[in-house]
Amino acid sequence: MTASRIVVGVVILAVLTAAGGAAQVDDSGNVTKLLALENVWRRALADKNLNALDALLNRDFVYVDPKGRTRSKAEVLVDVQSAKNTKLAETMVVRLHGEIAVVTGLYQEIRDERGKALVDRGRFVDTWYFSAGRWTAIASVATPMEDPL
């Protein structure tokens, strides 16, 4: 094998290695997977399934609710147990940034106020992190649709 063929072979190998390294998270199917995880999350909240939530939420997960309060993963798991509201999500869009995914969507929260059903609407942003072969949620912000002032 001539030296020039060795060089060409090494360059091709290098490019393939670079391509494989850059594509650490295969985009194909990740959008579908993340949308499914979002639905699993909503279902787990409705069912108060703490095991499912524990698996979905990263240990360092942080949530900012529509009133600007922060909740840690442990606090969210406690809140869920006494929550009476129903949360729905729609119009979700996934944006991938390598090992990070940002999911935006619209939410409706139906709450009971003295026997009357009230609906709060807003937009949410969920941030997911791909590590050890799976996606976990690392952050979530729920912003109200209207200015309360």
Binding site: V7, R123, S131, A139, T143
Partner: protein
Amino acid sequence: MTLPAAAVLVFLAVSASAQEVVPRDPESSIIDLEHAWVDGEARNDNNALDQIFDNGLIYIEYGKLLSKAEYLMRVRVSGKHLPQQIEMQGMTVRRFGSAAIVVGVYQEKKVAEGRLTLRQWRFIDTWVFKYGRWKLVSAASAPIMGASVQK
């Protein structure tokens, strides 16, 4: 230099470029960028903001979703007569691989119809290390209830 040696160098260079080498201590860099964002907006410096924002940025405030282009247009249109001033009031940075989450509070000072409004917001910003620099990919905030003052 022989051809095989040159080939090895090419191999190493191309392989290395595929892996983003994230700085070991990104917290101070990201906090600096958060402040640079506020400064850039106050100065109506779209070039500075363009460098900070990822092209796929999504920005959410009061349920409204803005793309990078829409956000920069808003700054451009506001010009030097920005109706609000932003003051950062503490933030923490959490690292996740080549990404970081910033959780913090900022105070917005706004003048409208002769009335001054001070409002606090809690935000989460997501930064990703891409092409050798930190880029903001998402920003969302919610008003802190009971923390607004009108004068």
